[in-house]
């Protein structure tokens, strides 16, 4: 039941490509190369973004980058308030995380709760030497003290706004749009 609102483009396909390119470089620099780097995407668009970033990093460094996927549904703190949220995505992490530099990849950073859940879940899998956070969009509005290390674009979105990240693999096109409900 979405009330038709205004929809404005924040990034187009080319801008996304440029942002990811820059983010890949920053990740390499943050991790001190790609040798100990593990990219972990948060289901589900984070997984696709991690995939693209890994590809870009491999192009630059010539080495394959370890990747994983994390579904944080089971670590949410609001299971009973969101109601049935049946389908839990797959979680798979590459081997041992100890001593690795793990970069969590997600599409949008908002309240910080998802990242909190991801950090909890990650801790159950091992003890990386460093955990970083990379997001395509930081829209502000944090409810927890969490900040991203690498950001594609910062947006000043209001509470009630929606930021839609659309990706070719999932949605058939690349775009980031701000949806503002008509009030």
């Amino acid at each position: 039941m979405t009330v038709a609102g205004s929809r404005s483009a924040l990034l187009d396909a080319r801008a996304i490509k440029r942002a990811l390119d820059r983010m890949a470089k920053e990740i390499i620099s943050l991790a001190g190369g790609s040798e100990h780097l593990v990219l972990i995407g948060i289901q589900r668009r984070g997984v696709e973004l991690a995939e693209r970033l890994a590809h870009l990093i491999t192009e630059k460094s010539g080495k394959a980058v370890e990747r994983g996927a994390l579904d944080i549904t089971l670590y949410r703190d609001d299971l009973e308030t969101v109601g049935p949220r049946p389908l839990v995505g797959q979680t798979h992490l590459p081997g041992e995380l100890s001593g690795k530099c793990v970069i969590i990849v997600d599409d949008v950073l908002y309240t910080g709760r998802t990242v909190r859940a991801a950090l909890d879940e990650l801790a159950d899998f091992g003890r990386p030497s460093r955990v970083g956070l990379s997001v395509l969009i930081d829209r502000g509005g944090r409810e927890l003290p969490i900040q991203a290390d690498i950001v594609g674009k910062s947006v000043d979105a209001r509470r009630g706004d929606r930021v839609d990240v659309l990706l070719q693999e999932v949605d058939g096109r690349d775009a980031v749009e701000l949806v503002r409900e008509a009030s």
């Binding site: 969101v82 109601g83 049935p84 949220r85 879940e121 899998f125 091992g126």
Partner: protein, 325 residues
């Protein structure tokens, strides 16, 4: 509206095919949780679950307990001998007591058919039927379905024969409902004295002889034969039962197909199933046990999250992940 299971899981008779598939699909990621070094997620942290067993059961209780603990719930086990005098009188009072202790979920095994529904109608907590009399044992059937799907890649169109004491089997009833709803072809085979009347009305075929059943089926689900059935005069002896209805290596070898063999346990080796079959390559019995934990985690998770009232009450608090974060 998202699909939910409602408040309770009483039986597969009440579930739709989509709801059954939802449970099976949800069980998939939970298999992975049990493979982790730390086999625990915080999903049900702070939830209190009572495992109320009025009938002794080792494997079902342990399986539920693992499922609960791996989801971080707090669990209390209550075992009662359930003498025939006690059980009826206690059920209403038990329900009221549980309600007063503000628990979130009850997993109940009870010797009377209908006991789970009885409890569910009287308390606000979620009730999961872990076997009621000879009525249903839904989580057992769900894990059987998951195992068949894992091994054969599908359930629709698969020919499954349930063998043995159908009359006294809640496992058989739940399996029949689940399999029929998911489009499998279902048959039952066993002595006529252990076949309930009107069983064909549930949409199953009937085989009098195990050899014919094996020729027809792709999957055999072999039920446990209780020793008491002999004493009650339903069959002459366990020895003869094994001769006429036992699932043996020789019989399996004669079947034109390679059958998959399931057994809900605990097995009577040498009665309904030979050891060489139980331990052989066609047996998926241990796979069933592994799937049991995943299926039960899925059910606990779906019921805990599936309270539309609470979800409605909490709406608009702004921390929803819907597309925004």
């Amino acid at each position: 509206m998202a699909l939910s299971l409602g408040k309770d899981l009483i039986g597969l008779e009440e579930l739709s095919a989509d709801q059954i598939r939802l449970i099976l699909d949800t069980a998939e990621p939970f298999k992975e949780v049990s493979e982790r070094a730390i086999k625990k997620v915080p999903t049900l942290r702070g939830k209190t679950i009572v495992n109320l067993f009025f009938e002794s059961s080792t494997r079902t209780r342990i399986s539920f307990e693992f499922a609960e603990k791996r989801l971080s719930a707090d669990t209390v086990n209550v075992a009662s001998s359930g003498s025939s005098v006690e059980k009826g009188e206690n059920l209403v009072d038990t329900a009221r007591n549980l309600e007063s202790m503000r628990i979130d979920m009850v997993v109940m095994r009870h010797p009377s058919s209908g006991a789970a529904q009885f409890l569910a109608k009287r308390i606000r907590s979620n009730v999961i039927n872990a076997g009621d009399g000879t009525h249903e044992h839904p989580t057992q059937a769900l894990l059987d379905l998951l195992t068949i799907r894992d091994r054969l890649g599908r359930i629709e169109g698969v020919k499954v024969c349930i063998c043995g004491d159908i009359l006294h089997s809640r496992v058989a009833r739940s399996n029949i409902w689940g399999l029929v709803k998911l489009g499998a072809e279902v048959a039952v085979c066993g002595p006529r004295s252990l076949m309930p009347r009107g069983i064909e009305g549930l949409g199953v075929k009937l085989f009098r002889r195990i050899e014919e059943a094996m020729e027809w089926a792709e999957v055999l689900n072999v039920l446990r034969l209780q020793l008491e059935r002999m004493q009650a005069g339903f069959i002459p002896s366990l020895r003869e039962y094994n001769r006429v209805f036992g699932v043996t290596v020789e019989r399996l070898a004669r079947a034109s197909r390679k059958l998959l063999v399931l057994h809900p346990g605990p097995m009577n080796r040498g009665v309904e199933i030979d050891s060489r079959v139980a331990d052989g390559e066609q047996s998926v019995i241990l796979h069933q046990v592994t799937n049991g934990v995943a299926v039960r985690m899925a059910v606990l998770y779906l019921l805990a999250g599936g309270n539309p009232e609470r979800a409605e009450a909490a709406k608009g608090q702004g921390s929803s992940r819907e597309g925004a974060e």
